[in-house]
Symmetry: C2
Subunit: 389 residues, 2 copies
């Protein structure tokens, strides 16, 4: 794997696609790859801290203390394994290890932002692994230009996210949050909940994106007797589409105003960044409900908060924010009719076990110079996966 | 209808089943029925107050102010229609009208407790209608002994309740509540949620009761790839059982310890009152999750609170309490890992429109002396429906 990458990097650096690369950075890539071609590696993992919860569950492998459960295995092979949650700024633990790490494992839940600057500084870097799905915290163009490989554990938490989306659809439709508030504050006011609580049955639900997660969501929505719409670059294969009873909408802006409930299931790319801005939100049905477990930056933060305040959006729920961790003054914490949580949907205990196993598998292949499962690649030998191009 | 009832009452009062009836109450029944046999009626509806929400939604018919949307229709026929939320004690509005009301409409959400004493006092009473499902707030034996008819709008909110149950299953499995708390308190601690968040997929879900609501829940759970168990008096018809992929468990106590998640879908009867007491809870899987939208009194209140505190029950969610409204010091408001709300699942706007239409239909039939749809009867001509016997 490391050898392959060195070869491809050399080819890539001479190609016109990255002609902007200076000759000094091109030579630094070659140096890095000589280092990377074998032996003991320095692997850094950036995860959220478990703190008092770390020892509460033996399967809680996704936190710093759990370290994906691969420490013993890595160290037995002589590799160095550093785990931290300290990822921001020049004084952070991550920054300290940037100059000589070989592999960086990060997650979308506590994203280590891998900027072009950090990539430039990481002279030994061979491989960027995402424990989970969604590698937009990495500057993918810079990673591609540097000839790096970026891979994630595709499929590891698709079910987890789809289930969580259905939960949020129901939480908004049924107006759960004010009911829960009443329970804990000693109140009892059924009208305060019921005046805007609805059945899901009979409503129109549209998903923006019908990839792995979107399809799992549509499957789970099927028995609710809803009107299912989906927008994607690609139409779902006819047999599955029929089974799901979902209708393809080629034109996103034709679909959106039909929806009582909109679910975002598209990766964050240059095309989807800020997709839901003030203008697009203004064209949605008044009283629309929005679920977004994809990425916070697909929304214009302030436009969402304003539309929740005006009532144009009647409910917004999701677990993704920009940036993450969300600052204390993030407007989504304070807007009315939200049901937000920290980034959590893809890091259930079940998902952690799956993405930990996936990371271990890729490290094992990397050490042996073997390829990864094809669907895991986000950047392979300097080429971005199709959805990011 | 009124004529029929008078006739059946006369038969019933002479039968041995209610031989305990004193001759004076038997004669009072006869008197009532002479009153009831025609003309203008006094109808009292007991609903929750809408207050500032009453005018916020034209379809919000389930509150006092909405009055099921039948005032104009009733008054145009010369009937008197009184609506109130004041239902407790001797000074309440309900109590004031008990002596001369003909029809009492009540709901499970804000239950008018119709005791044997009130039934005795209600000399003109002909008909008790439940706007919704579940008439356990009425002393059904006393109503039967008095020869009254009790009917509900069967099916009016089964979908609403089943959807809400699935929401609660996911809220507990995914550990939503602490995540939401973090969002609104400015916190960000993924570990505090993730260490006990799970996928629903692969878990064992058992429903205690697989009637109309239980079956709808099983249908909606099917695509989640869970292990589905159900206990009921009756086995589901083979074709549907196969479609649902659910396994029948004849012995409740054999099923319960297998379940990761238990959902209560049985009416409150003398057999189910206090069904989940300290002993039965002790035999459940440690870390079990329980969803109960059926009736609060199926649980031993303190036993549930204690098991949540000890962690034996890892999560409890429901919208039913005893009594209702739940007092401010009800232990379920304060126990850990709950996701409680006031009684709300069956009173979505969609459900309100359906049960309002069902009540109107039964009143219309009653005025004309016609029978109700058979499945609506809880007490018919002095006989309890089979599940209450």
């Amino acid at each position: 794997m490391a050898m392959k990458r060195a070869a491809s990097t050399l080819i890539t650096t001479t190609s016109s696609t990255i002609s902007s690369l200076s000759s000094s950075s091109a030579s630094s890539i070659i140096t890095r790859n000589l280092h990377a071609s074998g032996g003991k590696k320095k692997i850094v993992g950036v995860f959220y801290k478990g703190n008092e919860y770390a020892s509460s569950n033996p399967n809680f492998v996704g936190c710093v203390e759990g370290g994906l459960g691969i420490r013993e295995w890595l160290e037995s092979q002589g590799h160095e394994y550093i785990v931290t949650d300290d990822k921001e700024g020049l004084d952070s633990v991550l920054e300290k290890h940037i100059p000589d790490l070989h592999v960086l494992i990060s997650t979308p839940f506590h994203p280590a932002y891998v900027t072009a600057e950090r990539i430039k500084k990481a002279k030994n870097l061979e491989l960027l692994l995402t424990a989970g799905i969604g590698s937009d915290h990495i500057d993918l163009n810079a990673a591609a230009a540097a000839g790096l490989t970026v891979a994630e554990v595709t499929g590891s938490n698709t079910v987890s996210v789809a289930e969580d989306e259905l939960m949020r659809i129901l939480i908004l439709t049924r107006n759960f949050v004010p009911g829960y508030h009443q329970a804990i504050t000693g109140d009892w006011n059924v009208a305060g909940i019921a005046h805007r609580a609805y059945d899901l049955e009979g409503k129109t639900v549209g998903t923006v994106g019908a990839g792995r997660i979107g399809k799992l969501l549509l499957q789970r929505l099927k028995p609710f007797n809803v009107n299912l719409l989906y927008h994607d670059r690609l139409k779902i294969e006819p047999e599955l589409e029929k089974e799901l009873g979902a209708t393809y909408e080629e034109d996103l802006d034709a679909m959106l105003p039909k929806c009582d409930i909109i679910v975002i299931n598209t990766p964050l790319t240059e095309k989807t960044r800020g997709l839901f801005d003030k203008n697009r939100i203004a064209k949605l049905k008044k009283g629309v409900l929005i679920v977004n477990n994809a990425r916070g930056a697909i929304m214009d933060t302030q436009a969402v908060a304003d539309a929740c305040s005006s009532g144009h959006i009647a409910g917004y729920s999701g677990d993704v924010w920009f940036p993450q961790p969300a600052p204390k003054d993030h407007p989504w914490r304070y807007m009315p009719n939200h049901a937000m949580t920290p980034h959590i949907s893809g890091t259930t205990i079940d998902a952690q076990l799956r993405y930990a196993a996936g990371v271990k598998d890729m490290l094992e292949r990397h050490f042996k110079g073997e390829d990864f499962p094809e669907q895991n690649y986000i950047v392979k030998q300097g080429e971005l996966a199709s959805q990011y191009r």
